[in-house]
Every structure is written in C-alpha cells, then in structure tokens.
Assembly symmetry: D2
Homo-oligomer: 146 residues x 4
C-alpha cells in the first residue's frame, strides 16, 4: 500500500507504562490508539467529535466491529505511527483500515467499523453515514491537513 | 485503624495487564480502583452516580485533589481489597480516605477530595456536600450494604 | 449456545470511569476485560500466567489476532459477565471465543487468538500449544472451577 | 514559576476516550500522562528507563508517593502540555513537580516521589539517587534537549 493513500496519521510514543510484564505493549492500548487516531482525524477536519455529533443530531459515531492482527511487538521508546490507510463507506456504517508502524517495521493492522448512532425514543438507531463522509472527505475544499 | 470503621470495600483481582515491565502494578491503575470503589460506594446506596447527579442538578462529583503512598508492590494474581476507611465532610468538599490491602499486606494508602459540581452559566461552581452526605450516610435507614 | 459449554466466566462491574462522554463503555475496555478473563482462566487452573510461562520456557502467551462485535452498549452500573465460551486449538495458536452479557442482554462477542512465544536468539518464535491445552483442560483431573 | 525552570515537557492531545460521561478527563489519565512525561524525560537524555535500570542494577525507578490538584477540567480536543517544573533530590528519593496546562489555562499541579529499587534477596531496597541525578542532569555535557 502506497503512503499517498493514507487519510490521516498520528504518532504515539510507546511508554513504559503501556507495556506489560513481558516488556511489550499491553494490547488493548493499540485499540486506544486506533480510537485516538480516529478522533484526531475528526478534529483535523476542523471540529471535535462532540461538535460534529451535536450538529448532526447524533449521540456518537460508535463502534460496531473492531479487529486487529499483531505483526511484531511494540516496546518502550518506540515511536508508533498509526495511519488510517483507507475508508470503506456503506449506507449505515464505515470501515476504517489501520496500520501501525515503527520506522519500517509493521506492528499492527486492523480496522474499526463505526456507525452514526441517534436516539430513537429509548433505543438507538443508525443514521446514514453521508454527513460523516462529506465532513471527512472535506468536499468543501476546506480540509486542513495535519 | 479498626476494620469496623470501613465505609465500603471492593475487591479487584490484579491482572497481568495491570502490571508494567517491572512486573508490578502500573500505578495509575490504583487511582482507577479508587475511583471505581467510590462509584461502587455510590451504587451500594441504591443509585448510580448519574442518577444521584441528575436528581441533585449536578454535572458530577469530581476530583479536586488526590494522593497516594505506595507501601508494597501489587502483582498479577493478587486479590486487592480497596476500602474507604473514612470520610471527612466539609461544606464544599469531602475527603475519602482509602487503604488497599492484599491479605494482611498493606499496598497503598491514599485519598480523594471530591466536590459537587454544578453548571453556572459557562462556568462550574461547587454545591454544598449535604445531599451527598445524606445519601451516603443513608439517614433514611434504607442503607443497603454490600 | 448452551451455558454448559462455558469454560470460564468473570464478572466486571462497569464503572463511571469506564464510560465515555456518550455515557457508554469506552470500547478498548472490553479488550482489557477479555484479557483479564483469560488471565483469570489461567489462574483458575492453579497458576498465574507468569508461573506457567516460567515452567514452560515461554516469554508469554501473547496476542496474534483479536476481534469483537458490539451488540448493545454497556453503561455505568451494569454487571458485565465475560465468558470464554469455547477454545479452538491449533498446533501453534489457540482461539478463545468470548461473549459478554448483562443479565439476558448480549453486549459483545469476540475472540482472541493467542500463541506461545519463546525467545529464539534475538527473535521470537511460536511454541506448540500442547502444554497450554493440557494445563487449561486439566487432564490431571485437578481442574478447579470458579 | 518562570518557564525557563522547566526540565522537560510533553504534549498530549486529550481525546474523546480520555473523557468520562461528564465530558471531562477521567482523572487517572492525568497520572498516566505524568508517568509518560517522566519516561519521556528519561529518554530525552539518551536511554530508555529499561536501559538505565539495567546499567545500574535496578528493577525500576518506582513510585513512592503521588499527588495532584485539579484546577480546571480538560476536554476532548485540548492540547495538554505536561511539564516537569522542578526536581527535589534526596538521598533515597526524588520528587518531580508537574504542571499541566492548555494554552494559558492551568489544569493540574502535582508531583511524583520516586525511588530507585534494587532486589535484595526476596525484598526490594532503595538505592542512592545519585546515578539518576547525574543521568538526568547530564553532567557529562551530553544532555540532548527535546
């Protein structure tokens, strides 16, 4: 996959406290970094997740599905770059594909499937992903890059 | 301090993932367990924190101050008992004192100072602690014990 | 799936601090609870993960793959039961299947694929899963149940 | 306190998942950021915590005491700068003082007291802080700055 397809990247300095007694990253932290990268992507278009949700009558752009494959271990002192390498849009969900690297070394590949959740009485229902797609693709030509 | 002064206790099984590369608990986890014990204390009186706050016009019973002293290390497989051993009530804040033990061994002593936060226009202000004291002390004779 | 196939279950009281600004569980916490349940399963057979690894020349029983599907949201005050409902053994990996429920409500389904990692000079290599299978299946008739 | 006394600073982008249902930072995260800043300070002198400990026969530079006062709430999207503003050296412990700010706004003040722990048979004992002080103060003229 060529770097130029990357939609957004964020860097995380892996710390001592992110690692377990085997000296490698405690794996739920990778999911925190996926989520954090997604929220950074949101903000990079100019609004926090909260503001975007308020403007679109959503309670959140929550997780429906997540997965990850661990390729090599991360350790204290590694500079981990998490990239959103592609987005697959459907009517009621979007899949973001992630890669995490330290230099040339691949640590993790994974994905998040997210939906736009609205309140519907006591329940939640899924809204169309259109507004999120328009916002993240920045069809208004305003897309700030970080 | 005799055990009978304990206001509330919760048990946490220390796991592999709670420990750092030195094989001992990554210390911010103790604060998570303090906070979790406080919320368990709230619920033990019959309501979640959210319901209590909604009923009293609060946005939260948030932290003003926290401290802890580490006496001996916790490890994977330890059954940690966190106890709220006393509460010191003031008009606009309350200090909860915590002890964490594994069997007879003392791991941690600490405290949380909490305030009752209300919205006041764009700002937050502190409400009187009276409603929280009445709720936690269960002066209505309904105090469920766990 | 009938309850009697469950290999191990652990209960987690979902707390205020486990939830995000939308008031539902911040999803990486579910992976922490999967991992914690696995480590509880290990201990329920009589040894911590560390002792098992030391005895078998392993540096860890680490993650190769993880996935989860979110069925309904967890909230502050929910008693979440995470169950390991089955294990699929292969030569060099094992897949544990998880379900998380609050009462009758299904919150999450997921899996972890784990391998037994040994040092091999500067690298890691996968050991056979046989010792872990024998340990967890308790073929010695000593299997304690929790 | 003037900015020029700062020993080390690190920036953390506060994310959605770092916040609780009240929409403000879940407080144990601040302690994670203190710890992460300390480890960044270690690395900024050229070695990870692990390498420093290995070279000095230590199992870790662990926490003895921690405290924090919360001045104003952090929220999703805030760029939090955590600074180590001073270090107070004693024979067997060192206190690092922290400040966390978002722009001009003070969010948190706190401290960590750390000791250098060595194995002594089955027990831990405290080593002199001299090697850590020499390392962090970079008396060898090699001190890299970040």
């Amino acid at each position: 996959m060529s770097a130029d397809t990357t939609l957004y990247s964020a860097t995380f300095l892996i710390g001592f406290g992110d690692c377990d007694p085997a000296g490698i990253v405690y794996y739920p932290n990778y999911l925190r970094w996926f989520d954090s990268t997604y929220h950074g992507f949101m903000r990079s278009r100019g609004k926090t997740h909260q503001i975007f949700c308020n403007e679109n009558g959503l309670i959140g752009t929550g997780l429906m599905d997540v997965g990850a494959t661990f390729r090599s271990p991360g350790r204290d002192g590694d500079d981990l770059v998490i990239s959103i390498v592609s987005a697959e849009w459907r009517d009621k969900s979007v899949r973001f594909n992630y890669r995490g690297t330290v230099g040339d070394r691949l640590l993790i590949e994974g994905y998040e499937v997210r939906g736009l959740f609205m309140r519907d009485g006591d329940r939640l229902r899924l809204a169309h992903t259109g507004p999120l797609k328009a916002y993240l693709e920045g069809d208004d030509g305003e897309r700030p890059r970080t």
